[in-house]
């Protein structure tokens, strides 16, 4: 799993998107985020995905704005 592939990154993002947009504590009643046509394109994969933290260790995901991730300290 050391080789980053666009396919694996896409799948990681889609699974993550499903979690963070549809689940979690709702603090404001009027949040509606529509992510249209996000069909799960997992076909053909046998990938084992990871948390973002683990993905960073495996160089699968570059976090935005920094190559060092969320912790800049």
């Amino acid at each position: 799993m050391r080789t980053a592939t666009a396919e694996t990154t896409d799948v990681t993002l889609l699974d993550l998107l499903d979690r963070v947009v549809d689940h979690g504590v709702v603090l404001a009643g009027d949040i509606t985020i529509s992510v249209a046509d996000v069909d799960l394109i997992y076909l053909g994969l046998r990938a084992v995905l990871t948390s973002v933290e683990r993905a960073r260790e495996l160089d699968l995901v570059a976090l935005p704005g920094s190559t060092e991730g969320a912790l800049d300290a």
Binding site: V11, T12, L13, D15, L16, L17, R19, V20, V21, D22, H23, G24, V25, V26, L27, A28, G29, D30, I31, I33, V35, D39, L40, Y42, L43, G44, L45, R46, A47, V48, L49, T50, S51, V52, E53, V61, L63, P64, G65, S66, G69, A70, L71, D72, A73
Partner: protein, 251 residues
């Protein structure tokens, strides 16, 4: 320029906030205290944050970092409130539920398991079926096609329900709870999420691997571990808490 507060997680008041943790837009992640609870927030310039890959990854990176630091429950992506008082009001309104969620799942993680059909059933009548349909009146042809479609879906649903039973039999002994959907779309047999004690993740992963090897007719996908998004108390309706004053500790 106005500043809003983007909320990532709810923690206990004494939970550590990691120094240097950057939020969406690059601002520092800070705590807003409210009684025994704290909300981890960062300032953003807009009231709506689009679910771009960058934003979703940043949200998740912050939520994961906080979850590694101690018990916390993840807040849904896109939660932006006007100011610190609005955050306090919102947390206060849900204090009991948040305390309960923190105690129940705050130190747990979840793993996602998706079972896909290895071969997609496209649902064609096939050459023989097409020939058979050609000899019929258009209304009959339509009804017969609909009937076949329903029958195929019922068969798929039954097979998918069996797969869910097999998944739970293999994986639930290593988990605390499960949420699952049978046949959420034609290509997916089952989507499930299991709540796990962090110390049991290795055992769960080994059980998953055995299950996957024993199901050559499926493509099985394991994701995570994630913070316990799927096991917080579900949202139960609109809650606009406009100008109500906050009743909580300072912070």
């Amino acid at each position: 320029m106005p500043e809003y507060r983007y909320v990532y997680s709810i923690m206990t008041r004494d939970a550590p906030l990691l120094e240097g943790l950057k939020g969406i837009g690059g601002g520092p992640v800070e705590a807003i205290w409210c009684g025994a609870l704290a909300a981890a927030v960062s300032a953003v310039a807009q009231p709506e944050i689009p679910p771009s890959a960058d934003n979703v990854l940043r949200h998740e990176a912050v939520v994961e970092a906080l979850h590694h630091g101690g018990p916390s429950v993840p807040v849904r992506f896109g939660t932006v409130l006007p100011d610190a008082d609005a955050v306090r009001r919102s947390v206060t309104l849900r204090r009991e539920q948040l305390m309960e969620d923190l105690a129940r799942v705050g130190d747990k993680q979840e793993l996602g398991v998706t079972a896909l059909w290895a071969e997609r059933d496209e649902g064609d009548a096939g050459p023989e079926g097409a020939e058979e349909l050609q000899g019929l009146a258009s209304g009959t042809r339509y009804m017969l096609a609909r009937f076949r479609e329903h029958r195929r879906e019922a068969e798929l649903r039954e097979r998918a329900a069996g797969i869910r039973r097999d998944m739970d039999r293999a994986l639930l002994p290593h988990a605390l709870d499960v949420r699952s959907l049978v046949l959420p779309s034609p290509g997916i047999a089952v989507r499930a999420t299991y709540l796990i004690e962090p110390g049991r993740i290795g055992r769960f992963e080994r059980a998953f691997e055995e299950l996957r090897l024993g199901c050559p007719e499926l493509r099985m996908l394991l994701t995570g571990p994630w913070p316990p998004y799927s096991f917080v108390t579900p949202f139960r309706g609109p809650a606009r808490e406009a100008a109500r004053p906050a009743v909580c500790g300072s912070g």
